[in-house]
Symmetry: C2
Subunit: 230 residues, 2 copies
């Protein structure tokens, strides 16, 4: 008979948001927290902590996020359980990792300071534990999911211009996309449709707002959430 008595359980969350620089180029950023205890004292790490015996995994993820970053993300999904034997130097820790995709207005709730800071996802320092591996995996999943789900909506809200949607794809895929080709592909895919609305603000030719069609799935939110029927 084996025993798991000496394994600790933790949750961590990868939070992705998009930022656009002064040249109009979007990229993926994430907030990290500085560790204030050993191991890896002073290293940057994903927000997280131990699971309380009385809370579910998702509740634990949400509580840890709120405590460290003030975020209450609409999009929060379980990513993967990381359980390599030697991933923590002083004891065995299995981490259930969630990921959150947040809109710009949500991201503003994160108060950066000495112990919380935003980093570009493709230019991270050496993080605590296996957190670099975790972020790389989350980025790979983000790129993969863009191809078959309306995950971009998590960054944009319900309505968006095609230029905004293209910005999401450019940020995640890390390459510029031709605007005319992108428009053609999106319109022929049947995944997005034009609404009757345009961006307000007095421009001569205000861009039209689009939305995803109803039956494209946003996200696999796990087994206990109502889903769009297949």
């Amino acid at each position: 008979m084996t025993s798991s008595a000496s394994i600790s359980l933790a949750v961590s969350t990868v939070i992705f948001a998009l930022r656009t620089d002064e040249r109009g180029v979007s990229s993926v950023w994430l907030p990290l927290v500085r560790r204030i205890r050993e191991p890896h004292l002073d290293c940057w790490a994903l927000p997280g902590g131990p699971v309380d015996a009385a809370e579910s995994l998702e509740s634990s993820a949400r509580r840890n996020l709120l405590e460290t970053t003030q975020l209450e993300p609409a999009y929060l999904e379980q990513l993967y359980a990381f359980g390599d034997v030697d991933r923590s130097p002083d004891r065995r820790v299995v981490s259930i990792v969630y990921w959150a995709l947040v809109r710009a207005d949500e991201a503003e709730r994160v108060t950066a300071g000495e112990n919380v800071r935003w980093f570009a996802a493709d230019a991270l320092p050496e993080l605590a534990f296996d957190h670099n591996v975790i972020v790389d995996y989350a980025l790979w999943r983000l790129r993969t999911k863009m191809e078959y789900s309306r995950i971009a909506q998590a960054f944009l809200g319900d309505q968006f211009t095609l230029a905004e949607l293209r910005g999401v794809y450019e940020a995640v895929l890390q390459k510029p996309l031709d605007p005319a080709n992108f428009r053609r592909q999106m319109e022929s895919s049947g995944d997005v449709v034009a609404t009757d609305e345009v961006v307000t603000g007095g421009r001569h030719r205000p861009p039209r707002l689009y939305r995803y069609v109803g039956d494209v799935q946003l996200v696999d939110a796990g087994p206990l959430t109502p889903r769009i029927p297949a």
Copy 2:
């Protein structure tokens, strides 16, 4: 400060295989094991057990599978971590669930008996713990993944006839598919290509063997496995 000292960690695995009845109708089956201790004594349950402190999560899944079912599946993927507070009646258990898709020749290794038995996935008895929810979730993931990955290959091996491939889709989607339409869809998808080989055995018009094209991804095998570049 919260603590996870009282949370036990376990792994379980959902094993899916296909069976074809005497009318030629395929369906999804899975082997279950009878519990020989409380809680849920004598109930059928997914094969699994506690994670040993010295083994990784996947190693634990593989060891438990081998011990209970003699299976060493080629396709084994992490499915989800189930961590509801009340999922076990007597203590807090978080289960990392894997799923395995096995070919018919692999499935034959499972020696059914008093404590191991195959069940049709759509006609399960009431299982131990939340294992019915877990199987339903795995079936949903299987159906969803069929749409964007070559997951059917896990049931078939590298080469297969279009009739065999259609059988997989019919079993997973639980509905008959028109052979001519299916052939047209598969051939136009670009996902499968005809090989130069046919089924041997002396039939007058032996069916041609197909294979998936190289750049369709079989499976997300997790963050630590080499992947086909995007």
